[in-house]
């Protein structure tokens, strides 16, 4: 019997399929397998460009145990390296900091430029001798991890084998081409972190569906009815949900956020919420957007990093500061309302007789689309 026989029922059509079996949520071995086949083999989100705003900013990230270093290089671009010194393997940068010149390893002071080149190897040939005939600096630069920034999210392909980001996500990028304009992070109040006792996939699944809206977000649903939502599902690519009745937030004095420039009518009252597989949740609306990176801490533990973005910077629109706070609070309520479901589904998956569950053929297409994709990543590697 092949190893992934049990996934064949996931790969059927939504009408008859079962969801991913319990092991995919509670078994540390399967978590390890998915780490390699799903999270390292694809383009996963690990952070945000706004966290390294200036040249020389460096931020270490532990991604599933893999030490990574995000830097903003001299060209102003984001680059990601393995955060491990090529000498004795010391962690190079252990907390966010500004690199004025080079990255100096705190152990024996080998120095790396922001482009990863090894610049100095003090005493490598003995005291006061900084060269050695067998040490070629050009072979010993920092190891670069493929990265791509889209909508301010920093994506990495750890195993280096994925197709180009722009190729993998061509359809989605085309779908949202109108939103290909600069986004401005709303500042500290527009940033929050939720720690949830769940496998990261359940956060994706809950995000993709609108089925739960009237039950879990009755406030949201009072103006956004179930029938005003539609499923978004592209087999093997992405999924999510859209709404036809997006309403802009208004302040006390009737003030609103300015729109992203050049949007077509479709977005007057339209908005879409899509998962960039595997672990990035994006939302686009006429006047603001958000990005959520799901950080899988452990098999049953996830941190949701939630960031709100606007068409104009906070510096340019100080009069909207209160509205930004109000907006962040409103979203926070929505995301917090989802915690008990993702944690509850996680607990439910310890029920040994649960079979992955059946989907609503009408409502759960986007969720099944994600399961299908995950199962495909696993079976493809046989």
């Amino acid at each position: 019997m092949n190893k992934h026989e049990h996934l064949s029922s996931v790969l059927q059509s939504v009408n008859t399929a079962n969801g991913l079996p319990n092991a995919h949520y509670i078994d540390p071995d399967v978590f390890e397998e998915e780490k390699a086949a799903v999270l390292f083999a694809n383009w996963s989100g690990i952070g945000f460009g706004k966290d390294v705003p200036e040249v020389g900013d460096a931020m270490p990230v532990d991604f599933l145990g893999m030490p990574l270093l995000i830097v903003r290089n001299k060209q102003g671009e984001v680059a990601v390296f393995q955060n491990t010194c090529r000498h004795r393997g010391m962690i190079l940068v252990d907390k966010p900091k500004k690199i004025g010149g080079v990255i100096r390893c705190p152990y024996h002071s080998w120095c790396y430029a922001l482009n990863g080149d090894l610049h100095a190897t003090p005493h490598v040939g003995g005291p006061g001798h900084n060269m050695h005939e067998d040490i070629y600096k050009s072979d010993l630069g920092l190891l670069r991890i493929r990265s791509y920034v889209w909508r301010d999210v920093i994506f990495v392909n750890v195993d280096g084998q994925a197709l180009e980001f722009e190729e993998v996500h061509a359809d989605l990028m085309a779908r949202w081409a109108e939103f290909e304009v600069p986004v401005h992070h709303g500042g500290p109040e527009s940033s929050f972190k939720l720690e949830v006792a769940t496998n990261w996939k359940l956060a994706v699944e809950n995000y993709c569906e609108s089925y739960h809206l009237p039950w879990v977000h009755p406030g949201l649903n009072s103006y956004s009815r179930l029938e005003d939502h539609y499923n978004i599902e592209e087999l093997g690519k992405y999924s999510g949900q859209g709404t036809l009745v997006y309403r802009q937030l208004k302040g006390e004095g009737g003030e609103m956020f300015p729109d992203f420039e050049g949007l077509s009518e479709k977005w007057d009252e339209g908005a879409e919420y899509i998962t960039v597989y595997p672990n990035v949740l994006l939302g686009v609306q006429r006047d603001h957007a958000f990005a959520i990176v799901l950080e899988p801490k452990a098999c049953e533990q996830t941190v949701e990093h939630i960031e709100l973005y606007y068409a104009q910077s906070s510096e340019d629109t100080p009069e909207l500061a209160d509205l930004r706070v109000k907006n962040a609070e409103q979203w926070k309520v929505v995301f917090e309302e989802d915690i008990f479901v993702v944690e509850g589904m996680q607990k439910g998956r310890h029920g040994a007789y649960f079979d992955g569950g059946r989907f609503s053929p009408a409502m759960d297409g986007p969720t099944h689309n994600f399961h299908h994709w995950v199962a495909t990543q696993l079976t493809n590697r046989e």
Binding site: C111, A120, G128
Partner: protein, 69 residues
């Protein structure tokens, strides 16, 4: 010097190590001078301080480092 290390004042370290190097160099102790020059150079490099260029040149002149242009 230990105070500057302790305080993480790396610009001060550049100066102190350079001074130490100058003294050893004046005494004709090239190895000791290069040891201190190396430290001055690394801390200058770390901060992107312009002193790094001259320090690198001094080390390179003694054949102790590649000249970084």
């Amino acid at each position: 010097m230990l105070t500057a290390h302790g305080a993480g004042d790396h610009m001060q370290l550049v100066h102190l190590y350079t001074q130490a190097a100058d003294m050893r160099e004046a005494a004709g102790e090239v190895d000791a001078a290069c040891f201190f020059l190396t430290h001055a150079y690394v801390f200058a490099l770390e901060q992107g301080a312009e002193e790094a260029v001259a320090l690198n040149k001094r080390l390179a002149d003694y054949g102790r480092a590649e000249l970084i242009s």
